[in-house]
Each structure stands twice: as C-alpha cells, then as structure tokens.
Amino acid sequence: MKITPLTGGEAAERTVHALGLDQTATDLLSTEAVCASLRRAASFMCPATPRQLVGAVLEAFSTLDESSSMTRDQVTERLDLLVSIGDLVELPRQGDRRSRQLYLAPPSYVAKAPGQYLLLGVRPNGAPIVDESVGAEVAYERHTRSLDLSAEVAPDRLRAAGLHELSREHWLRSPRTDPAAAVVLAMRQRLDRAPESGQISDLTIIDPAASVLYYRGRRRPPSDGDSGDFVARRPQAYGADLWCFVRITHGTPRALVDLPIDDPATPGCDEAWRVQAAIDAVAGRSQLMRVRSAAGAPKIRILDLFGPVPGWAQRYLGLAGIPVSPTRGALLSYRVPISVIGEMAAFVTDMLWMHVREEGGVA
C-alpha cells in the first residue's frame, strides 16, 4: 500500500482516468467527466432523486473545483441530458405512483449507422458498460457514449457483453404530429376536469412571455399578475421534482395535472417541454433552431437549440449529429452533416413547431 500526496490537478487527472476517460484530453469539469461521474453515482445510488445524484457529484468535485465554477444547475442540466438520451430513466417509485425517482436504464445499444453504435444505460456497482472483450474503445462525446465496430461482428459481441439492441424506430418513437393548438387544447381540457389544486408550495412556472432564447431566464415563481395555464414544476420532499400543467388565477394555483399523463414510464419533462413548445408556437413566439456553418468544415453545420427539448427529439438529433459544446447562448448544440439539415429542420418544425433560422456566419 502506498500513500501519495497529490495536487488538486493530479487528483483530478486520476479521477478522470478512473472514470475511463483520457486524462490528457479531458478536464474534470468537462461535460464528459461530469456525465461519467453522474452515471457512476447513479450506479451505486439508484433508485435516487436527481438531487441526491447531483449532490454526490458536487461533493466529490468540490475540493478539486478551486474556482467553484461548477454549479448545481449545471450538473442538473447534464443529468437531464442523461435522462433524455436514455442512460437513466425517471419512473414512479416502485409501489408509489405519485413519487418519481431515477433508475438505471438497462445496458443497450442503438445502431446509428452500420458500424456505429450509441451505448445507453448504466450497469450497477460502477461496472463499465463494456470491457475490452468487445474489441473497441468507447468514445465519449459530451453526454453520449458510442463505439465503432465492424457491423459483421458488432451484434454478437455487444450481445455477448450483455447489451440489448434497441431498434432505431423504437428508440426514436415520438408522439404523433399534431398542430400546436391541438396539443394545448387537449391539455387545457384536462385542466378543466382537474379538481381544485389547493396551495402548491415552491411552484416554478415557465414564463411564456419571457424570451425563448434564454431558458434559465424563463423559470420563475408565479406572481400576482399571472393568470392562465402554465407548464410548471413543483418540488417533492423525497423524489424528483414533478412537472405539471397548472391553471393560475392572479398568481394562485387553481387546478393542476401532473405529468406524464399518458405513460408512467416516460419522463414528465418530455410532455412538459413539448407542451411549452406548443404554447410558444400558439402565442406566435415559436422556439428557435439556429443553423450555422462550422469552421473549416464546409459539409458540416452546427444546430443550436435555446431551450430543452423532449428526450425523443434529443435522441433524433443525436442519432444523425454529434452533441458539441453549446456556444453563443445556446443550450444544446449538435454537429450534423449538411445533407440531413433539411430532414432535421422538418422534424423540429413538425414535432415542436420550431422556427428554423439559417445564419451565414461561421461557428
């Protein structure tokens, strides 16, 4: 047994290496390392609340993050990405329909293209998703993990490694294409039938009047001037915060519908963000997808999104594109081949009623 004094930088490097990442190219506070740490925390702690997982990562990183640049909100956003892509699943607590927690999604893979596989899920007890016996290195890109493996051998090797194949169709399954107004109307009709909500403490709404270009600035508590139907979130004592659709009169909640409505096995945020996109579109303030050039890569474009989108939309975008660090105010960015831009633009327009704006500048 050896005792070795370390600087903060050395400790960070060792941590990154132990997470299975390249410590010479990856910073401890990078999205890749934070997501790997969240997956690791989940592998030991699930079922757990998002707050517990985020707290465990923040506590482990706090000493090494000398400038305190990593905030709870930032780690929470990365955790949301893991839920959206399908590494973790938000489900009702077993035996309790009203409370929701995070669970480990089973180790799985989706073929992005022949020979390219997106890895999903988390094994318990810190076990890696695949080991060397698969014969390929796992590539970490933002919150995603993938590997390249000959299409001839990949299914057998991945199956032997205990991974389940998810078909693209199943993984990408999205709601049917409806007009925004119909989605909003259906939700309002549900609220019409909902009972009195009573007092709801610590409710946070998404402000429909606030700019769609800055998501964090849209979340706030209701005020006396608020009347109408809002997408909102309410905390739970010992579970994940619950998404809901709430009717408010002069700042006072009157009726509430918890999300998800249709399928308890889907995350509430998927329905919440879709409804919010519909509300924004109906109000004439559609959310934006910006398309811009990528420096030095004429056949590539960068897609920027300024608000969160449901998991099925993230999965769709992630299948053809590679998530990259968002810049210039974006919340999510993808690097995609120019050949699929039209298809993606049609998808976000049809499914999330987005406005697509193409810019001539270089990223």
Partner: protein
Amino acid sequence: MEGIAPGGSLEVLKYLHKHLDDKFQALHEHRRVLQPATPPVFALEHDLSGSDFDLLLVAVREAVAQGLDARFRAWWLPFVVYAAEIGYDYAGGEYWPLFAQKTPGWETSPGWNVSTNRNRIKQWFKRFAVEYGGAEPKGGFAANFSIIAWPITHAVMPAYLQQQLAQLLFESRAVLTMELLNDPHALGACLASRTSGYTERFQIFCTNQNLLGQVAAALLLGEDEESPYLVRSTLLRLVDDLTNERQSRAWLTRAKRSADLVRSSGFLPETSGSVAGSRGQHLPTIINPKLLLRREGGGWRPFLDLPDLTPLQAQHKQVDQELRNLRAKVEGHPRPLARGRLLYPDKVPLSTWPRPSAPVIQLERGSPVVNSLIAERCSITPGPWWVFRKQEGGVAIEVKGKFVRPGHEYVLAGWVESALPALPWAVKATALADGVDIFDLRVPPTISGAEISQLANAGLAVISDVSIQPVGLVPGSWDGEGAVEWLAGEPAILAVKSARSTEKCAVSVDRGTTSVLEWPASKPELIFALDELEVGTHDVQVALLTADTHPKLAGGSLAITIRDPHTNLEKPTEGAGIRLFATPARPKLTELWDGRASVSIDGPLDTKAELAISLRDDAGKELLQQRHSVVLPFSDNAWARLAGQELRKRKLLGAYEKAESCEVSVSRSGVGFASLICERGFHPLRWILIKQHNGGHEAYLINRTDGDGTQVQLFSVEAPLTGEARDSRQTITVPESGGLLQATSGNVTATIILPPEPNRLLQRPSDRPIVQYADNSLPELQRLICGHARWLNAGLPADPFAQHQREIVLNAITTALVSLAAGNRWAHLERKRLRVGDRRSSDVLEEMRELVGEAPSQRALAQQIASRIWQWLDSSATLSAGFANAIGTIAAANGIDDPHTAADFLLRLASRPGSLVGWDETERHRYLKCVLRSPVLIRAARFAVLGTDALRQASDGGS
C-alpha cells in the same frame, strides 16, 4: 493413424509405457520437493510428441479391439493417458458413450465385460496416484461418479468449461494478491466462492478447490514462466484452447495483466496490525448490514440494508444451498423474507428496533454451522445510541463511528429506556418502529464543554478540528462522516481539511508505518491517494503536526472499505427499473416447471412489459419461445396462474424434455430488462418421456453414473407408496393411470411423475389412490411423510394430467397421515369430506371445528381459527402468522416455545407433509412426538388449512 504392424500394438504399448513411466516419475520427483503441499501429477501432462500420441491412440484402440487381455494390460499407462484425453473432450454428458464412440470394440468385443473394464481403468488411475503422485478426485463430482471422476480429473480442465474459467479469472482479477497467487489452495477457495452465478457443471468442477487453484495459478503466469503445477506443454495447450475463442482470450489476457501487476509491484498485505485478515483468510469482506432511516409521513422509519453473504460460501459448502432455499429472519422485521431473497440486494423495513442480543440475520431452520457463520460475520453496531447523518432525499445514513460535527444535522436513535443527554438542540421526532426513540439533532456551530461531556457519557464523540473525505471519484458509499467504500482497483483519493494552521500531516493505515506529508502552503486541505489497498476494511488515521512533528495538534480517522466488485449478487439490483425475483433463488428448470419455484417482477406501477420464456438445448439453441404481455408489478400468484395455464401445455412437452435450460426475461424498452436462467442442472440420472402415437407414454433412463447397481421402482397412482422393481436398462411403458418412477444409484436419485392417458381418467373419474397405514406411531408417520415427499419432489413433466394425478396422490397421503395422527373421529370426518366433496364442505368444516378439541382452551382455539381464517387468505405467510398467534398457548403447554416454528410445522404437516423432510431430523421427531401426544395440534392445523382453502375457493368462485 495407420502404421503399426499386426501384433505391433503390444510393442508400441510397451514402449509408450516405459516412456511415460520415465516422464511421470521425473515429474513426481520434481514436484515432491515443492512446499507446502506437493502438487499432483495429471495424466494429461504426458508431454508426448504428436507422432507418439497418434501411436498411442492407435495402439490402445487395437488393444481394446483385441479384447484387452493380460498381455496388453501389463502396459497400462497408455490407457490412463487415453482415458484422460477423452475426459478432456468430455462435454458434461455421458462419458462412457463418448469413450465407446472413440474406441471401437469397447463394450462389444468378444467376452467383454463392461463393468470389469471400467473398474480396471479406475484401478489404473489409483495406481497412477500411488506410483506417480497422481491427482485424486475430490469434491461433489467425485462423490457421485466414482470411476469417471478419475479420467475427468486427470483431464485437468475439460474443454467445455474453459470459457467459464476465463470469465471467472477475469471477474476475480481485482482481488488477486501476491499471497493468493503463491497459494493455489487459497486461490482455489477464493475463486470457488465466486462461482454461484456460473453453470452447475462448472460449480461442480470448482468444488475441487485445489485443482481449480492450481490450474488458475498456472494460467495466470507470465508468458515465459514455468509453472510448478502444470508442465509447459499442457499449460500451453490449455491456453491455446482457451484463447481460440475471442472473448475468453480477452478475459484471460486482462486477468493475466492484473496478476502481472500484482507480481511486479511486489505487493503484499500489511502484516502488523492489518485489519484485512491473515494468511488463509482470503475472503472478500462481509460487509456488515447497514442501518438507515427514511423520512416517511412525518416520522423516521428504520431499514436494514441487506449485506452480500455469498462470500461465506467459501467457508462452508452448505451456505449456497441454504441462502438459495431458506427463508431468512431479519431481526426487527415482522415476517421472514421469501426463500432466497437474501441473494438480492434490498433494504428491509424494520417494525421493531433490532435487539442487541439477537443475531441480526438468521436462516429459518438453517444449519447451526451456517447460522453461526452469519451471526459471527454479520452484525450491527452496538447501542444504546446510533448516530445517523442526514442526507439529501430524506435519508439518514448511520455514522458507525458514533460522532457528530458542529454545524451538521443528524438523527439520533436509541433504546427507549436510554436516557438522552439534556441537549437543547435535540428534538424528539416520531419513530416509525417500536423499541426506539428518535431525535432530530441540529448540532450548533459551537458546542459547550458541558454538552461535549454529556454526549461522551452517551458514548458519542464530537469532532471539529479535522475532516477527512473522499474527493474526485464518487465513492461506492459515503456516510458523509467517517466511512467510505470503493471498489478494488479504484484510486482512493482523500482530502484532509482543517481550520487550524498546520505544517505536516501524519497518515497511517491499519496502524502500519506512518507517512508524514507536507501540508501544502496556503491551502486549507491536503490531498493524497492510497494506492493498492487490499479488499477488506482499513483504518486510516491522520494527525496534524507542527513543523517539528510534535506535538499532535489534532487528529481524525476514516474507515475505508475496499469492496470486491464480484458478481455473486443476483443481477436485479435495486437501481434497475425492472427487477425479477425467483423464489427460491436460482431455481432449476424443473422447479420452475412444476411449480416449486416462482417468479415475481417489480417495476413501475401499471406499466406493461413483455415476459419471454425460452427453452434451450445443451448447445444453447432455442427450442421454443413464448411471449406474454404482463402488467407490472407481477406477483408470485400471477406467475403461478401463468405457469399453470401455459407451461404445462402438452404441446410444450417435447421441447421441455429436450431442454437443458430456460431463460425467463422481462423487458420494457427503455425502462428495464431483467432475466433469469434456470438450468436443468447436472443430473447423474435423468428420466426422459416419449409420447407414443396411441396417446400413451414410455420412459427411459439416462444413466450418467458408472452404471452398475442402479435400481428402478415404479409406483402406481392406485398404490402410491408401494414400489415395483423395473430394469434400469429397459424402456418402461407408463401405466394408463400414470404413476411415479424412481431410479437410485448410490446416493443419487431421480424421480419423475408419469402422465396418465387422459381417456382413462375420463372413463374412470372416481378412481382414487389407496393409502394403507398401520399403527399410530412415529415410524409410521415418518413413512407417510417420506412417501409424500417422493411424490412432492418428483420431476413433473409438462403435462397437466400428470400434475392432476400427483395432486390426487398427495392429497390421499396427506389425508391418511392426518387421519392417523388426529384420531378415529377425525379420520371419519376426513372420509366424509372426501365423500361429500365441495357440495357440503361448509357442513364438514363446522363439524371439524367442533371436533378440534373438547377442553375449553381447545374450543377457544377452534373458535379463534374459525373467526379469523378470512384474514389469512392472502398468502401462506399470513396464514402462518395468524395460526402462530392462535396456537401459541396450546403449543407452549405442549413444550413448544416458538409458536411461529410450531405453526409452520403443523401447517405443513396438515397440508404438505413431504416438505418436512428437509427439516432437521431431531426437531422433526420432537414435533411429531408432540403431535402424537396432543392430536389437537394437528386437528387445529388441518382445520385452518381446509378452512382457508374452502374460503379461497368460495372467493374465487364468487369472483
């Protein structure tokens, strides 16, 4: 191979014998000097050249073809090598047919005596053991296969088990130490303790721990190293065969790399004051169960986090069987856990705070040795106070060091009679369990000396100057105060923080050598890593020092547990969205099919999932798959209904008979996946049923034992306790009304229920078994119990009519036993019950209530049962708990102190007496004597059993 002149095989055998004699003699001499134990010589280590080996094959075959007379038998070593080579190719089926297939003339040569020649081979191997220090078979396989165990042992590692060995080495790489690598026996024990998730055949191989350890140690050697346990040619052959398969190659390479690392670092565990254990105790640490509290509805509910007990398997062979099959009692939990549930990670709610005097976990009717092991290795911290650090999410985790820090929040739990120090910041909270008081503790940033003294009087400490915490890699577990866990091989990175100005920090682990580290200038913390910590528990002590290292300014400690990342635990961890449980754990295919095992699934409420059942043959090829849509959660009862409707369909019979394994899996895309593989298991004797064109069946026996002395008896449905002898080598025609076949060879038995011809049942529906019984005595009761067990535990084919016939027989034997023990008047009522059937069952039950007993206390008992049975319908556990409550006084009057055990025994005796054969014999006899002395006990139990059955039927019919 051709090339031996006629009659030349004798000369070749003579030449090879002498050559092999020299070789094995030299090997034996070489190994004899090795210490501490002499490694054995294996016949597979013949080291023959390719051409010599080809000569050997031809010569042996010719000798056999010529009748293996005394001339050939004088040169016996080639035959030993030949038999071992066939063992190497053995794939777990039948050895002798493989031998015969590769050796023309074996079993058919003129004047050939199969039994004599098989025994001859065994004698040659025995002689090999004596003259050359040859390996001797040990373990479960050797116990059942007295002849073929020899050639298979001398094959070192049959090819079909090699992939599993590679996987085992890979999965065990994190626990390798220099000491293990140098001690094959310890290595074998360590590896054998980690095989519970492997196939039964591999587990059987691993029961010979010495052999396992020697093979493993040899495989883990570096490329150019000589093994003291296997000659180089044999080792290379094993490695070559192993690495032919890509995944095995990757597993072995990775395991060898870990072993190389251990050897190159020269790492040896601390010997002075090491907590991790001493030589000969290379077991993964049993982690004591953890207590935790959860906030629920305004109060705190205690839970016990179940520990992984599977490492105890290395200490006693019964552990695995008992963990799999027995119910566990958790101190403070009101009901026993389902059979096998200890093999699944879980948190068990406690309704009563655990008593310090009682073992925290025990197996119901577990053997004393296993229960002692569990009690010894598995305990909670002593009271009277327990400290819990509040964490996010309404959970409080126990601080085993029993200390608090200023400014932090805790929950304090203590015995109700314990006097809490008068602290203004301790506020009583609601305890959602009996026997405990709970306080919310908000420790102020500053604590007075008087308060510190008061806490000290309660055995609690205050730590304020130094904190030690994990940083970087999120640990496997962290109580927020003084105990942290990592997996073996992970970097243990710690930060020491102190508000005091300090210049040096002394760090020691397990009271070993102290390292003095410079405190980084102008930093509030010192970071350091502990590398290569061995699996186990370690105590880290730190002391803050001034520049001249004296005096100590402040100190602190941290308990580090390095966990073995082994995969013994069943796969459905708590964190999975869908979890699949089996009762008992890891059931056999036959248990699942005949209803002795059940499956349940946990998952998000009201979520649909797909349940798939696949039958596979020996090579893993799918024979049949059924898919069902289920709604979660899916209970044992739901499984029983599905199994009753689907698994025993006649169309499945063919696939079921051929199947060697079954996979039950449940999935919901994106939510979860869980699966369970049930093997048929390795059976020396196995019955196969064949359906005939006329609707009848024939049965024949696959006999993998060494052949002679296998006895077969046929029991008919009409006389279910009387066996008629049959020839084990002949196909047996199944009687029209079905029956039971039992084959016995030594201590191995195989029984199967025989399906009837359905038309015969329709023609004679009122035929019933006749169970004769004699005097009201203990031996007679035992006979009926054993007879019941024979039918209860027999394999059940996938045929609904076979199950029907078995139930008729079981009911007849149970009725006879109860009639015998409960007295003549009760026997009369039992006959009446059979006559009237369901038509007037309520009348009979009323008469039974009257007849339970005449004394006031007995009448009160009957009344209590009658008035409460409607509350006992949910499950057998509910019935047992309710009946225990009712029977308590009368049981005590008959010298039975534990009403729960009494209830369990009596209810089994009155409904499924065969299930009592697994009970400790002394205890069974004691209870049976009580029943004979006081028949009211069995009358009450029978009344409760029939009463709940009748109510359940009425309820089912009504719904």
